[in-house]
C-alpha cells in the first residue's frame, strides 16, 4: 500500500473520533434537558455550565478533526 493512501485512510479513521464527541455532546444536552424539565427554575442559572461543558466536549471532536488535518497536510 502506498504511504499516500495510508494517510488518507488514517485521516478517514481519525474522523471517527467525532462520534465520541457527538455522544458526549448529546449526553450533555439530553441530561440538561431532563434536568431542566424537572426543575425549570434552576435551568437558566446552569446555561453557562451547559455551554462550557459543550465546548469542552466539542473540543475533543475538534481534536480528532485536527489529527485528520495533520495527517493530510503535515505528516
Amino acid at each position: 500500500m502506498e504511504a499516500e493512501a495510508a494517510k488518507y485512510i488514517g485521516a478517514g479513521i481519525a474522523t471517527l473520533g467525532m462520534a465520541g464527541a457527538a455522544l458526549g455532546v448529546s449526553n450533555i444536552f439530553s441530561n440538561f434537558l431532563s434536568g431542566a424539565l424537572r426543575n425549570p427554575s434552576a435551568a437558566p442559572s446552569q446555561t453557562g455550565n451547559l455551554i462550557f461543558g459543550m465546548a469542552m466536549t466539542e473540543a475533543l471532536g475538534i481534536f480528532s478533526f485536527l489529527v485528520a488535518l495533520i495527517l493530510l497536510f503535515v505528516a
Partner: protein, 257 residues
C-alpha cells in the same frame, strides 16, 4: 479553483514586507512583514478600543445603549473572573478582559466575508495560551513561592494514592495550554473550512445548469445554518477561552484546592 478552495482563506500574504537579518535574499532571516493577519490584529485592537472608549465617552448616570453595552461587557467579564478566581483574582481583570475582547472580536471579524480570521492560525492561539500559562506560573511562584507546587497535590488525598495522582495532575497542567489553544484554533478552523466547503458546493452546483441550481438550494440552506452556528461558536469559544483563563488564574491565586 482558488475561489472555492477551502484552504485559500487562511493564506497569509505580505502587505508591507519587513525582513530582519539574512543576506537580503528571499527566505533568509526573519520575515516580520506586516501581513493581512497583522492588519486584522490591528483592526481588532482598534475596534475594541474604539468601542470601549466610545461607550465610556459620555458619562451618563442613565446609560445610553452603547454605554450599556460597554458596561455589560465589563460586568460580564468581571463577574466571570470574580466567580472563578475570587476578589484577589480581580487584579487580572484587564488581562482577562483583553483576552476575551481580542478573541471575541477576532472571531467575529472572521465571520465577515473576505476578512481574515486571526484566531484560525495555531501560532496565534498557542501564543495566547502560553501567555496565559506563563502568567499563571510566574504569578503563582511570585505570590506563593514553592507553595505553588501544592497545586499538584490535591488536599484530602491519602498518601498512598499520591504517586498516581501527582503525575496525573502534572500532566493535566501541562496539557492545559495545548487544549486551550487547539480548542480555539480547531473550532474556528473547522468552522471556516466547513462553511467554505458548503459554500463551494453552491458555486460548483450552480455552474451545472438548471438542475444544479435546484440542487444548490440544499447546500445554500446548510451554509446559512452553518453561518449562524459559526457565530455561536465564535462567541462560545471566546467565552470558554476567558472562563478557562479565569480558572487557571484561580489556581495561581489559590494553589491549594
Amino acid at each position: 479553483m482558488a475561489g472555492t478552495d477551502p484552504i485559500h482563506q487562511f493564506v497569509i500574504e505580505d502587505m508591507i514586507p519587513i525582513h530582519v537579518g539574512g543576506d537580503g535574499t528571499a527566505g533568509s532571516g526573519l520575515n516580520l512583514s506586516f501581513t493581512n493577519s497583522s492588519l486584522f490584529m490591528v483592526l481588532t485592537v482598534l475596534a475594541i478600543t474604539t468601542f470601549v472608549l466610545l461607550a465610556s465617552s459620555r458619562k451618563q448616570l442613565v446609560p445610553s445603549r452603547l454605554q450599556l453595552t460597554g458596561e455589560l461587557a465589563y460586568e460580564f467579564v468581571a463577574n466571570m473572573l470574580r466567580s472563578s478566581a475570587g476578589t484577589e483574582g480581580m487584579k487580572f481583570f484587564p488581562f482577562v478582559f483583553s483576552l476575551f475582547a481580542f478573541v471575541l472580536t477576532a472571531n467575529m471579524f472572521g465571520m465577515i466575508p473576505y476578512f481574515f480570521t486571526v484566531t484560525s492560525h495555531i501560532i496565534v492561539t498557542v501564543a495566547l495560551a502560553l501567555l496565559v500559562m506563563s502568567v499563571v506560573v510566574i504569578y503563582g511562584f511570585v505570590r506563593h513561592g514553592f507553595k505553588f507546587l501544592k497545586l499538584f497535590v490535591p488536599s484530602g488525598v491519602p498518601a498512598y494514592v499520591l504517586p498516581i495522582v501527582v503525575p496525573i495532575e502534572i500532566i493535566s497542567f501541562l496539557s492545559r495550554p495545548i487544549s486551550l489553544s487547539v480548542r480555539l484554533f480547531g473550532n474556528i478552523l473547522a468552522g471556516h473550512i466547513t462553511l467554505k466547503v458548503f459554500a463551494g458546493f453552491v458555486v460548483s452546483l450552480g455552474a451545472a445548469g438548471f438542475l444544479g441550481w435546484l440542487g444548490a438550494i440544499l447546500p445554500l440552506f446548510m451554509t446559512v445554518a452553518l453561518t449562524a452556528l459559526e457565530f455561536l461558536v465564535a462567541a462560545v469559544q471566546a467565552y470558554v477561552f476567558a472562563v478557562l483563563t479565569s480558572m487557571y488564574l484561580n489556581d495561581a491565586v489559590h494553589p491549594s484546592h
